[in-house]
Symmetry: C2
Subunit: 356 residues, 2 copies
């Protein structure tokens, strides 16, 4: 299976569902207030921005792998995780004070600009951040309601909702740690891996797999097998993300490849480089990290250090090892076959070979 | 029934359940990270601060009124709405930039102070607000999970969860409007009533009633009857809150009775007074509203204007009328009897006669 192509074709389907969802919801909200309509229109545009829809696809193909037959309902239900994604990203954008997300203004920035345009009272940024908290909260409940009202047995939905809430609670702990990481002087490999684990592996991979499987009535033991795939595959995904964020082709990536550095992100690449770096190299990295006036030369120097300390190679090798681990975990369930299984195997490989 | 006494006795029960809940959860989170434990300890203390537990009681007694028998499970389940309350208040505190909640530091203030104490990098307030967004999100998912895992039939829980998500989405719209209200120059009675409706009536009253009833398998028509009680009772509750916020006894209230004025809250009292006020009186109100240097004399002058324009009387009469409407709505279900019914009748009256 060409997992890249399958993912692209699936993305079109879930995006069509999301469009239908908002086009139905928005007119219903007109009776409440124009500000509610505006909030949903912002959320609609934000959610439909160019994205891989990896989480929705992981949900969908796990459901198929476990024997699911109702493809139409599963595609529709997969919207839940894209709405969860909007919820978490909107809040994350506020915490990271990001101006752009997927090349366009973040929700708090949209509201900030609206405040200025309307010449409202008080601080535009605080207004923007407040409304972004609200839009994120609304996205959360819309997401949960998609899953709650989906056409699957109530018993299975309850199990899936329990898993979802538990997982997002864990993501919340990861987010707590991430915010701590942004204000602490020193963070090491353990901290980075812990954040990768809770934010990316648990959320991006494990959550859609568990929810998809539980809608098919999967057992706790099935869940453990799926986690055995999801956690290493998710960490590998994040490592590749960090590599692309520093060495990727900006045109293919659609974003600057020095923004992680500029934001001072303690990626595994940086942490490992710092472990091996000389005093002079350490100084150069520290000067670049989180520097809003970062130059191309400074970024290139850091890239060079990351390479020559062996940190890049370490990360690449680790990602390959983790993907092997992930695929091996699924071997415990030879009965899981078909396009679902083919997708999970294929996507794990693709995610560490992708260029964007 | 002495609804005040019943409420106080119920509060002790749900608080004991909340204590047990956190005391079980916190040790389980130790394996994640000390920062996760800290977040839950903050949430524990925040949730257990002195409060009426009105929402939990409305849920519990509606469940009983609809024929519910499992009192122990219902008390335990009623925690969900107190956790929702923490979630919404923590986010609200960030939006309103409040330093205190129930006489103690707000969550973002606790984290802001922790940041200073630890001499972390970057802005302490932004750190505090970010962690408060996270703690609020965590409270949201803990709340939903309490309801998801409660020992009631899955079909009923799905209906209750659907109602809950729909209701909190509506609260989100109310919150969007509220934030707009805080930056707009002019807001009228319609806007105030709209905010009261979505924030207080829908959330504080309608939500616990619907969830309690749906766990007992209530029909859509039963839901309409309950809404017919909840919406007017909820608006009356908020009107009384606003009256106490300006005319209440500070010792009984446990907070300043000029803070609504100082914060520039456009309560019905203010809006109605402005409608009738002379130019000179309008100037005096505007000078006081949202003025951080508000003096006792200025506050007293505004109180005087609110009285002599008939605004106070208007609000009081409206609250009485709304409570009558609320109680009359329940007459459509004479079969709803017992301590549940007695509580709903009694609490509607008590809530507009209360002194705190």
């Amino acid at each position: 299976m060409d997992a890249k192509k399958t993912l692209a074709e699936f993305a079109v389907q879930v995006e069509a569902e999301l469009d239908r969802f908002f086009n139905k919801l928005i007119p219903e909200t007109q009776r409440i207030a124009p500000e509610a309509v505006q909030a949903l229109e912002i959320l609609h545009e934000y959610t439909l921005r160019k994205a891989k829809r990896l989480r929705a696809a992981l949900f969908y193909y796990t459901y198929l792998m476990l024997g699911g037959q109702d493809k139409a309902e599963a595609v529709k239900t997969s919207m839940f995780i894209e709405l969860v994604q909007s919820y978490l990203l909107i809040h994350d954008d506020v915490m990271d004070q990001d101006l752009l997300r997927r090349g366009k203004p973040t929700v708090h920035t949209i509201y900030k600009e609206f405040h200025k345009q309307m010449s409202y009272r008080q601080d535009p940024l605080h207004f923007g951040e407040s409304e972004a908290i609200n839009v994120g909260d609304i996205a959360c409940h819309l997401a949960l309601d998609v899953l709650t009202t989906a056409n699957f047995p109530a018993e299975n939905k309850i199990k899936a909702l329990h898993a979802l809430n538990r997982q997002i609670t864990t993501v919340g702990y990861g987010q707590i740690l991430d915010v701590f990481g942004s204000v602490q002087e020193k963070i090491g490999e353990t901290d980075v891996m812990r954040i990768h684990n809770y934010k990316t592996a648990v959320y991006t991979y494990e959550t859609p797999l568990l929810v998809g499987a539980l809608l098919m009535g999967a057992s706790d033991k099935d869940g453990l097998v799926l986690s055995g795939y999801a956690i290493p595959a998710g960490i590998a995904f994040q490592i590749q993300d960090d590599i692309l964020g520093m060495f990727g082709d900006e045109d293919k990536l659609g974003k600057a490849n020095d923004s992680d550095l500029r934001e001072g992100k303690h990626t595994l690449l940086i942490v490992k480089a710092l472990e091996k770096a000389t005093e002079a190299e350490t100084e150069l990295i520290k000067k670049a990290l989180g520097n809003p006036e970062l130059t191309d030369e400074m970024a290139d120097t850091v890239r060079e250090i990351v390479k020559c300390t062996g940190s890049l190679e370490y990360s690449k090798n680790l990602a390959v090892k983790l993907v092997k681990e992930a695929k091996a975990a699924l071997a415990a369930r030879p009965q899981w076959q078909g396009e679902g299984r083919a997708f999970l195997d294929g996507i794990a490989d693709y995610m560490i070979n992708r260029e964007f």
